[in-house]
Subunit: 308 residues, 2 copies
DNA sequence: AGAGGTTACGGGCAGCGTAAGGATC
DNA sequence: GATCCTTACGCTGCCCGTAACCTCT
């Protein structure tokens, strides 16, 4: 074992119980994994896996080596972040982002991340928070920016930004000058995030009235579509105005005063504390910075500064 | 830093404050060290040494990296001894041996060591214990088999064997049948180890008599020469009989009963607890085994078994 | 047949050693 | 001039990816 790469591939092979999955995880081919592990075994003079043509299984010695491999890789990550400059950070970061953030400061974050950590490749997924929570838990994502919190023991998280929700409508929709009552809102379809999300659920509770027919809530997983539907006067929408800042400024949409009082959308960065998360912590910190800078330049009423 | 070798070379360069000495220590050329350290600096994006054409000096970041390098290398040594088979142990072991041992079981030890650890190269030095103690202290030897003990804090040692000293003479020398008194011994020159050694000093004390002229003690650093001089009847010799077992069996030398009572020659294996000693511990254990086996097959009176 | 690991093979590149260069004492 | 590090250069050997192969379900 003259090379960290061998230990890394071995680690993933052990962790994922498969050479091919390890290859995929570590961006190489399956024969490369096979070869390196064979070389490791030759060098140590010890079998690390029992191969059964259908599957592999760690031997006793293999299990011992996994412990060491993990210690090595964590020590390496610590060393890189401690003594290396930012260019020393290498690898792929599998990032999951909720669409609200994708519509606000994500592009600035990507830009900034690339400038500060030029050797880190970001593998981006945009989806709703519940899905990303699941993917993070399964180890399929390294870092997520999502709504709400994550409760896994092996996971750390930190606040990054919070945006108030508001009722948004087309200026062409006649709503009068009074703030909208709950009853008034119920007259319109309300377009918002999908069923699985916090805003949908909170909205549902707020509009709930046993004496009335159920409110029409259109859950939509595409923010762009929500915006389009709002522009088309299908109804009101409940989204954070900061996500449609451009439309507001251009006067194509407007914020409608209403009696609705919903909690702010509070976003957190969450990442695993295991090996796969070693790039995530500094990236999460960078995201905090970017979000703060973005908020500072946004109109005050679009940002929930007190949350931070 | 994809490679342990880089960290190893960096470690030695830092430790020895010189690229060329590091190269020598690690069995490579000086440009190789230069190149690898330059590569490390490029990879980390950080200067590790200040180069002043005449000398090098660690930078702040360099000092931090040394800590990590040491942890890596110790972890690696631990891993190799823990999960690797004996063929996984590689490197050069700089072994210092006192001549008495060289004349007894050293060749068996070398043979055995090569069989068990085929990838370890032994770099052998034979000298008196005092010199080897010094070399070990300076870090110029990794493992020594010597008389007496070593008191450095960073050094570990263990008993390996103990041999009684005896007066040896040519059978042709007429000495009578009585055990030799101290006074009788003083009539002859006594040939033994050099002035700096324990046997010489103990002998001097034993023969000391203020009322008499000083005894003639011939300190000689070559055991072969001591034997030759004894065969030539220059005088008596004081050496452990086990070192001349063949001559005793062949009847060319004999053990002479005497009133001299000197402590046994107790040999220890000593090695540094720092990085350079990582091969030494298992080798010291192997030496214990070999010495024990050798003693078991030697005539009982030549061995001080109770010492172990 | 297909999933998963091994073996075979050709090409690229990293790292080594030799040798020459340059700076400082 | 001697010492010590750097740069240049050719070569070897390793490692990777493609592709063919094997084996078990």
């Amino acid at each position: 074992m003259t090379d960290f790469r061998s230990l890394e591939l071995f680690y993933w092979a052990a962790e994922l119980n498969s050479f091919s999955r390890a290859a995929e995880r570590a961006n190489t081919t399956q024969p490369a994994v096979s070869q390196r592990i064979a070389a490791l075994e030759a060098e140590l003079g010890v079998k690390l896996f029992d191969r059964n043509a259908r599957s592999i299984r760690l031997t006793h010695q293999g299990r011992k080596l996994v412990q060491y491999a993990e210690r090595f890789l964590m020590l390496r990550a610590e060393m890189l972040s401690e003594v290396g400059s930012t260019v020393a950070m290498r690898g792929v970061l599998r990032l999951g982002v909720s669409e609200t953030i994708a519509q606000t400061w994500l592009s600035r974050f990507i830009e900034r991340a690339h400038a500060v950590y030029p050797n880190i490749v970001i593998d981006l997924t945009v989806d709703v928070s519940s899905v990303m929570r699941e993917l993070l838990g399964r180890g399929d994502l390294d870092l997520v920016f999502l709504l709400g919190s994550v409760h896994e023991l092996t996971t750390a998280s930190c606040d990054i930004c919070a945006y108030p929700l508001a009722v948004i409508a087309s200026p062409d929709l006649e709503l009068g000058d009074e703030p909208l009552s709950i009853a008034r809102i119920r007259e319109f379809p309300v377009i918002t995030y999908p069923r699985t999300t916090a805003p949908y659920q909170r909205l549902r509770e707020a509009l709930y009235d046993p004496r009335q027919p159920p409110p029409r809530i259109f859950g939509n997983s595409s923010l762009t579509t929500i915006v389009q539907m709002t522009l088309d006067r299908i109804g009101l929408s409940l989204i954070p105005p900061i996500a449609v800042q451009k439309e507001l400024e251009a006067g194509r949409l407007r914020i409608v005063d209403s009696a609705l009082r919903l909690p702010d959308m509070a976003f957190k960065a969450a990442f695993s504390l295991t090996l796969s998360g070693s790039l995530a912590r500094p990236m999460a910190e960078l995201a905090q910075e970017v979000a703060r800078a973005y908020d500072a330049q946004a109109p005050a009423r679009l940002v929930a500064r007190d949350r931070l």
